[in-house]
């Protein structure tokens, strides 16, 4: 009897392990899903277009492609059901010599966009923390 319980327990444990982990999409939902993320990205890019500190880095970029890749990127980072099909962060910024100040300028444009979309501060912080972790692959490349 005891052995049967042990075996049953092991089977349960193994089957739990083989199942794919349930993705936490709470951040994705808090950002308003794909429509919310699209508005945040568009707002950020409009801010960038008016920002003399960093606009030069975006002059030779296809804005439509940039928008869709950024939406995918934010979607994936927030745990949403998307696939990122763009270049890696390091590839995308290669040769641009992004400075720490320019990186922060983009962060400010993103924060301003989220502010105007009414995204609560704790939700903003979660997304910013995910993106801040990739700063090393963006600056000084």
């Amino acid at each position: 009897m005891r052995r049967a319980v042990l075996v049953a327990g092991l089977v349960a444990l193994l089957s739990a392990c083989t199942q794919a982990p349930v993705a936490d999409d709470s951040l994705y939902q808090a950002l308003g899903g794909r429509p919310g993320i699209t508005r945040i990205v568009e707002g950020m890019l409009l801010n960038v277009a008016r920002d003399p500190r960093i606009v030069q880095h975006f002059r030779n970029v296809d804005p439509e492609r940039l928008r869709s890749k950024l939406v995918e990127k934010f979607c994936v980072e927030s745990g949403g059901p998307c696939t990122y099909t763009g270049d890696t962060m390091a590839e995308a910024h290669k040769g641009q010599q992004i400075s720490p100040a320019e990186f922060n300028a983009l962060v400010e444009n993103l924060m301003a966009s989220m502010d105007s979309q009414g995204v609560p501060t704790p939700v903003q912080n979660r997304l910013l923390a995910r993106l801040a972790a990739e700063r090393g692959e963006v600056i000084r490349k």
Binding site: P52, R53, V107, M111, R135
Partner: protein
């Protein structure tokens, strides 16, 4: 009072200078990461310096801050004015004048002077790490040269020197979402000093002539990038036998509407100062930056 008003006017004029802010190549760090101006002039909280470098200059950029602070206590008043310059988010130089009004004590003890003043020259260097990014917290080393300007009273109560150098090590880190989703700033510092009441009562005394290791810490929660509330603590030595010297603490609220101006209001709990106890009052500081 008039002098303080002049300082405030100076700060206000500085703020009205056409904004350099949004020009490329200036103020590249994020809002509030320059901190406030501490009473010794170095960037930090109010009562203690923290590890951040003054202003908002990032790599290759210069940041400048000017500030005025008043601490109104039941029997005394402390006025501070000063400035700091930071370069490259790496080094900081600061200067501050502290003026301590002895208030009613002048008459009760028939004191020869009614104020105590000192000058503080500070240098701070970021050793490694970053306040927000990188793996390690931002760790900075600071040195302060202090010169007490009215040494008669301090010498009468047993202080040994009218000038001294002290050092501190500070570590600061912003934990993103660290306080129930809100950003949490933590600072811990260690100071090596023998300053009596910051140095206003000189350095070293009849009870102890050598420096002590003193702990300093602070925590702040950023309700959003513009508003911070927090607590701060500063351990102090007790070198003079004529009166006890209390550790200091405060509960503050900081407002950072832009990178050009910040205001800090606090309830400061300064305890016993020069025989008078319960010196707990209001701390107000305004900072201009460009």
């Amino acid at each position: 009072m008039k002098r303080f008003a002049n300082v405030l006017l100076g700060v206000a004029l500085t703020l009205s200078v056409p904004a350099f802010a949004d020009e490329a190549g200036r103020q590249g760090r994020l809002l509030a990461t320059g901190g406030a101006s501490s009473i010794d002039g170095a960037a930090g909280g109010g009562l203690t310096p923290w590890a951040m470098i003054a202003g908002y200059g990032d790599e290759g950029q210069v940041g400048v801050t000017v500030f005025a602070t008043r601490v109104q206590l039941p029997d005394y008043r402390l006025d501070v004015a000063g400035a700091a310059v930071g370069y490259g988010n790496r080094v900081e130089l600061s200067v501050a004048r502290n003026r301590f009004d002895l208030g009613s004590l002048v008459h009760t003890l028939s004191l020869p002077e009614n104020t105590l003043s000192q000058d503080v020259l500070g240098a701070k260097v970021r050793l490694f790490g970053d306040l927000i990014y990188d793996r390690l917290p931002q760790v900075s080393l600071g040195l302060e040269y202090k010169h007490q300007r009215d040494f008669l009273i301090p010498s009468l109560v047993g202080a040994r020197r009218d000038e001294d150098v002290e050092g501190y090590l500070a570590a600061s880190r912003l934990f993103m979402g660290g306080a129930f989703g809100y950003n949490l700033l933590v600072n811990a510092g260690l100071r090596y000093s023998r300053a009596n009441e910051l140095g206003l009562l000189g350095f070293g005394g009849d009870r102890r002539t050598s420096r002590s290791l003193l702990k300093e810490w602070a925590v702040a929660v950023l309700l959003n990038p513009r508003w911070a509330v927090g607590l701060e603590y500063r351990e102090k030595p007790d070198n003079l036998s004529f009166a006890g010297e209390s550790d200091w603490a405060d509960l503050f609220i900081g407002w950072f509407p832009t990178k050009h101006v910040s205001v800090v209001l606090a309830y400061a709990r300064l305890g016993e100062i020069a025989t008078l106890d319960n010196q707990n009052g209001t701390y107000l500081s305004i900072q201009g930056g460009f």
